[in-house]
């Protein structure tokens, strides 16, 4: 028999619900059909709370908390929608669009992009900030995949999936602040990487058009980030053991 999982009562947007002890606010909200926007979070990977899109208000605390990296506590009162949160989320998205060169019209992920989708959801009809137009070189040296840093939002899903799931740690973030960028190996072209296993989990996880399959044209790329959670579940033998219990 499965062990009984302890639960804690919490309130999200005025609705009382049972959270599983140890889960995050984001996981609890999504399990109950409350959709909090997020970008850097990916089920199956460790949360980093980097993109800040999933920030929520907790009771009287003035400090906003990233829902993906905040563990539920008993009687926690969470607000996921308010004018302050909407304004912050929109600003975050505008900063992401202003920082890179996200030209949706000519992107491999046009029409199937998490960044584009979340911009629609958060009401971003234009970008108020000055576009930075950084000069970034595309790395198409890998025989199977392409890295286009113009479309990268530094969510680090690729870094985490390669390190935590594949165990190769090909990807990392070099430099700091405005100059931060993704690199493969020790800043060598991806095609020359001796650690890359060609597994493609980084490409599957990417929320934008930054990582794509060679040969993908405008709007042709389809990422499969959900496969990471399945893979993690399979490795934990969740499915096979559940089958065995029946």
């Amino acid at each position: 028999m499965a062990e009984r999982v302890p639960t804690v009562p919490i309130t999200i947007d005025g609705v009382e619900m049972e959270a599983t002890a140890g889960e995050t606010v984001l996981q609890c909200a999504r399990r109950h059909g409350v959709d909090i926007p997020s970008l850097c979070f990916l089920e199956g990977l460790s949360p980093v709370g980097g993109c800040r899109l999933c920030v929520v208000e907790v009771a009287e605390d003035l400090r906003l908390r990233p829902a993906c990296a905040t563990t539920v506590t008993s009687d926690m009162e969470v607000t996921t929608q308010s004018s302050r949160l909407r304004s912050y989320r929109r600003s975050i998205l505008e900063l992401l669009f202003a920082e890179g060169n996200h030209v949706c019209a000519v992107c491999v992920s046009n029409g199937a992009c998490e960044l584009q989708d979340v911009a629609v959801r958060c009401g971003m009809d234009h970008v108020r900030y000055e576009l930075q137009a950084p000069r970034r070189r595309v790395d198409a040296s890998h025989p199977r995949y392409v890295f286009d840093p113009n479309r990268c939002i530094l969510c680090t899903r690729c870094v985490r999936v390669c390190d935590e799931i594949e165990g190769a740690h090909v990807w990392d973030v070099a430099h700091r602040g405005h100059g931060a960028e993704l690199v493969t190996d020790l800043h060598r072209p991806w095609g020359e990487s001796t650690s890359c296993t060609w597994c493609g989990k980084c490409v599957a996880s990417c929320p934008t058009g930054a990582l794509s399959h060679q040969g993908s044209s405008v709007g042709e790329m389809r990422h499969t980030p959900d496969m990471i959670a399945w893979l993690v579940a399979a490795r934990r033998r969740e499915w096979t053991e559940r089958e065995a219990r029946r």
Partner: protein, 180 residues
């Protein structure tokens, strides 16, 4: 009641958004019945008129003519709408921005690339000079509403114009604001 005066303008863009406007098909008859199209690439009027009620501006601000014209449009229009991704975000027109100096780009296109007659076009007063950086419309003039899309789909254009002629703002939420 006087009929609303509608204008459309084509700056640094491919005219795809105007093609998309024509894709509203038979609705154009309704539009013609409801408003006067006083200036447009599809209307034979040479000078941008005064007292325009609503002006849709396609394209980014890429050269000196675009900049001057955008300011004139603002001065003479009650409501200015960024029409399509180039006006809203710079989009494809602004893809030269990361390359920096437009002189280098002109040389690459007109001198390095062609097999013959290599020269950078130079005709003061006829060929406008490129601005150092392509700008979205709202960064050079005040803009009242945004209709993104590359091109803005016909249905979205119709929805926006219908709202504007009825004295409302085009939608600022939902699929109507999707880029690309």
């Amino acid at each position: 009641m006087t009929r609303p005066r509608l204008a459309t303008v084509w700056l640094g863009g491919c005219s795809g958004c105007h093609m998309s406007l024509l894709d509203t098909d038979e609705w154009l008859f309704e539009l013609a019945a409801a408003a006067d199209l006083v200036y447009s690439p599809i209307v034979d009027v040479k000078e941008f008129p005064h007292d325009v009620d609503v002006c849709l501006v396609e394209g980014a601000v890429a050269n000196e003519d675009n900049l001057e014209f955008a300011r004139l449009v603002r001065e003479r229009s009650a409501i200015v709408v960024s029409f399509g991704d180039c006006a809203v975000s710079g989009n494809v027109t602004a893809m030269r921005n990361p390359l920096g100096d437009p002189e280098g780009i002109l040389r690459r296109v007109y001198v390095d690339a062609p097999d013959r007659d290599a020269q950078v076009p130079h005709a003061p007063g006829i060929v406008p000079l490129l601005l150092a950086q392509v700008r979205p419309l709202h960064q050079v003039i005040d803009v009242d509403a945004f209709v993104p899309g590359c091109p803005a789909p016909a249905g979205r254009i119709r929805e926006a114009i219908e709202a504007l002629l009825a004295g409302r703002r085009p939608p600022t939420t939902g699929e109507s604001i999707r880029f690309g």
